[in-house]
Assembly symmetry: C2
Homo-oligomer: 323 residues x 2
């Protein structure tokens, strides 16, 4: 079956690492057709819109989207794109790679972040000069959908629910209770941890945790914390999964300091492309990409962020050679 893949490089190093990941996909020769579209600061400057209608429509109709990065306009691009693919979960693995400096090399976590609600779908008002409000919503249905995904994701293992239900008793409480109840129905074990306690404990010993399900903002902050433990955002992939389609993006940004120099590390985007392959049922190809990235990270060549002097294309070619 042919799959339509939308490719949205965006700004900065997005323009370098996204084509690199497409090269890797092409080398595997799956039945993909690629269509490119614009988003981000550059197109906003030209047209006034960071996310052109056509780009939204493309992501909303493609089987999968590969997104690079956006600059100042990141929130205006990525939040509607997550919506375009009807994504209910943001999957964020945070794993340290052998041969890469990490604060906590033993870190190997996956965050399953609720991707539709919380403050991200909050309604804000500036009521008076003094007062602004934000109303966030939590639903049983979104919590249930995340929980069902989590149960399938962990298979027979358990997972952890991170939340702040001691303060947000109704909203985070509903999230926690719903997720725990779904897991129990399905015979999947869960434990729970307050998000602040998680922040302390994951630094002290990240091996205490494995798969962590959380509300949207908690998932944002805690997965970025885990990124710090594995040595930075540079190597982290992510997947925004929906029922019909999905969007894959590196967690890093546009890296304006090195953009245009051809030395950006393509690994995070290439690993995101591996998650795309997995989503479209190319399991073997996905495994091959993961293995090729891992051995390239361990043996080189390496881009400057990892202490080497290789270019983006040196690394991309080395990965392709190992497929």
């Amino acid at each position: 079956m042919t799959h339509e893949i939308a490719v949205i490089p965006g700004d900065g190093i997005g323009q370098e690492v996204t084509p690199a990941a497409v090269e890797v996909l092409e080398a595997l020769d799956p039945e993909f057709t690629f269509t490119e579209a614009e988003a981000g600061d550059a197109v906003a400057e030209k047209t006034g819109k960071a996310l052109p209608e056509e780009t939204y429509e493309l992501a909303a109709s493609a089987d999968a989207t590969l997104f690079g990065a956006a600059g100042e306009t990141a929130a205006d691009v990525i939040l509607p794109l997550r919506d375009a693919v009807d994504s209910f979960v943001n999957v964020r693995p945070a794993k340290a790679y052998p041969g890469v400096d990490a604060v906590r090399p033993e870190t190997d976590l996956v965050f399953l972040r609720e991707n539709t609600e919380g403050v991200y779908a909050g309604h804000e008002d500036r009521l008076t000069e003094d007062v602004a409000t934000l109303t966030r919503v939590t639903t049983q249905s979104a919590s249930r959908q995340l929980a069902e995904f989590a149960c399938e994701y962990v298979d027979s293992d358990g997972f952890t629910i991170a939340h702040k239900a001691n303060v947000m008793r109704e909203t985070d409480g509903l999230f926690r209770d719903t997720v725990a109840a779904v897991a129990e129905e399905r015979g999947v074990a869960t434990d729970e941890v307050l998000m602040d306690a998680f922040a302390t404990r994951v630094c002290l010993d990240p091996t205490q945790f494995d798969v962590v399900a959380c509300p949207n903002l908690a998932g944002d902050v805690l997965s970025d914390l885990a990124a710090g433990l594995v040595g930075g955002l540079g190597l982290l992939p992510s997947a925004n999964i929906g029922e019909q389609r999905a969007l894959f993006e590196p967690v890093h940004g546009t890296a304006p300091d090195i953009a245009g120099e051809g030395v950006a590390n393509p690994a995070a985007t290439i690993i995101s492309a591996a998650m795309l392959l997995e989503y479209l049922d190319y399991g073997e190809e996905a495994d091959a990409v993961h293995a090729a990235v891992e051995s390239t990270l361990a043996e080189g060549p390496r881009t400057p962020d990892l202490g080497g002097d290789a270019s983006t294309s040196d690394v991309t070619n080395a990965i392709i050679d190992q497929l």
Copy 2:
């Protein structure tokens, strides 16, 4: 001038570390009168109320309160107590001590956490079986009060504003803009960072930051993250500062696994007592306590959490001996 100090040991090791800190204060012989009151799980079991009216009133009238810890009922105790002392800022230093194992020994941060608003003062509703909402408020006035405190706190140095205004544009936006404007009026430099980026960056290099002002929930999570970097909650003090009165508490909890054994580390509560001394203008005495704690941590005796076999009172006596 005589100062009235409320002492609320609470549950678990709160019953051991709070009297230890009072001993240290008594050894300095300031003009303090101490009045003890109950709060927490134990009193809730007896009376149905985790925070008895008399305890609230005592904290609301004393010059300063020293609080230990509460168990399951922590939120029902500490949130109203912060309110009792009209606290607008929670000061949370996170510093690694020489001789104490830390993930990032170079960490030396102070969080200034807005202490009245955000989701902590949120109004929650369970609208339908499916839907719960939370409305949080941010005011210019509370942001301004925090900012004024921050400017005095850093003196001529600058500080960092951590927020998530790219998503919470009105609420965190109002917070950020107000704090930045107040600092500018007063000639204090600020920079800003998104709270998720802060989580990554502080792991990679905590020396990038110094004093960090944040909204309530961000302050909760980011300061607990910093606690992880310095080796855990065990040594972290905190101060809830109001205009007329204040409340001081270790960041750690009740440690039920070791409660009653007389081996709890009293350092965090004793450092909190040093912050109390400072607040009441006993600057020299505060410095003496800080110095005595630091040298005891470096040279021992040490409680089991730091690899020693000393008791709470061994450590307390060692600190008192060095005053």
